[in-house]
Amino acid sequence: MNIPRVRISPAALGVILVLLVIQIYLFETILGAVLDGQRSVLPGAFGISLALTAIALFLAFRSTLTRGSKE
């Protein structure tokens, strides 16, 4: 039976990794700001983090629609 291979491209995986590194840096920075009492940065940071997550989720689940190269 010929089962179509469903794969994510290395480029997409790389982008997701970069997004995660940005998320870690963002979270650490935000945590430091909150500990300093600067809570006003939280709405903006949440928006940025949400956008990054949306991109990562899109790339990760988009792979189910991508036919990868044969192995």
């Binding site: 935000i30 909150v34 300093d36 600067q38 809570r39 949440f46």
Partner: protein, 186 residues
């Protein structure tokens, strides 16, 4: 056969069960976890342990700290402010000024103590200067949370609120830099 398979000839039965796609999904969900964490911080109105809360303004319940005259230069006294776990330290500097700070070190949360004219964290040897709570040595990179104190007419001291942490925006460089003062006077 790739070079690393020759170098590490381990045949793991389940190594192919975790695909690249699953790994990507896992990373994306971790990213979503960070977003949830930031959202939680946003929604959680109570300040984190050791963090200042200048937005709360003056405290509705001032805490009595005793008589100002009881504290000599170089001495300190511990008290609790927000609740029983909110340990703070009141001190009198060698200049005679009274200062109060939250006792939580901004590095990893150990309790700081006043020793040899500076605030010292014994866990990792971090030091803070007593005038504004700035870190001057060791691993801490953020200043201590300062407590606003009030001296009343009868000589008693009260902790009445929290002070905003000094930042580059609210720091008066002209007023705080001795070299600038000298230049202005000259």
């Amino acid at each position: 056969m790739t070079w690393w398979r020759r170098a590490f000839p381990l045949d793991l039965a389940e190594e192919s069960h975790f695909s690249r796609r699953e790994f990507a999904r896992f990373l994306a969900l971790v990213s979503a976890g960070f977003t949830t964490g930031i959202g939680f911080l946003w929604m959680w109105k109570k300040p984190l342990e050791g963090a200042s809360d200048p937005a709360s303004g003056p405290s509705g319940h001032p805490v009595a700290l005793g008589m100002a005259s009881d504290l000599k230069g170089g001495e300190s006294r511990l008290f609790t402010f927000r609740d029983a776990h909110d340990a703070c330290i009141l001190l009198r500097t060698s200049k005679g000024e009274l200062k109060a700070y939250r006792q939580t070190c901004t590095h990893l949360g150990c309790a700081v103590r006043f020793k040899n004219e500076r605030l010292e964290c014994p866990c990792h040897l971090g030091f803070f200067e007593p005038d504004r709570g700035f870190p001057v040595q060791g691993p801490p990179s953020r200043p201590l949370s300062a407590i606003a104190i009030e001296a009343r007419a009868d000589g008693s001291l009260w902790a009445v609120g929290e002070l905003p942490k000094p930042t580059l925006e609210n720091l008066n460089h002209r007023a705080d830099c001795p070299r600038d003062k000298t230049e202005v006077q000259a």
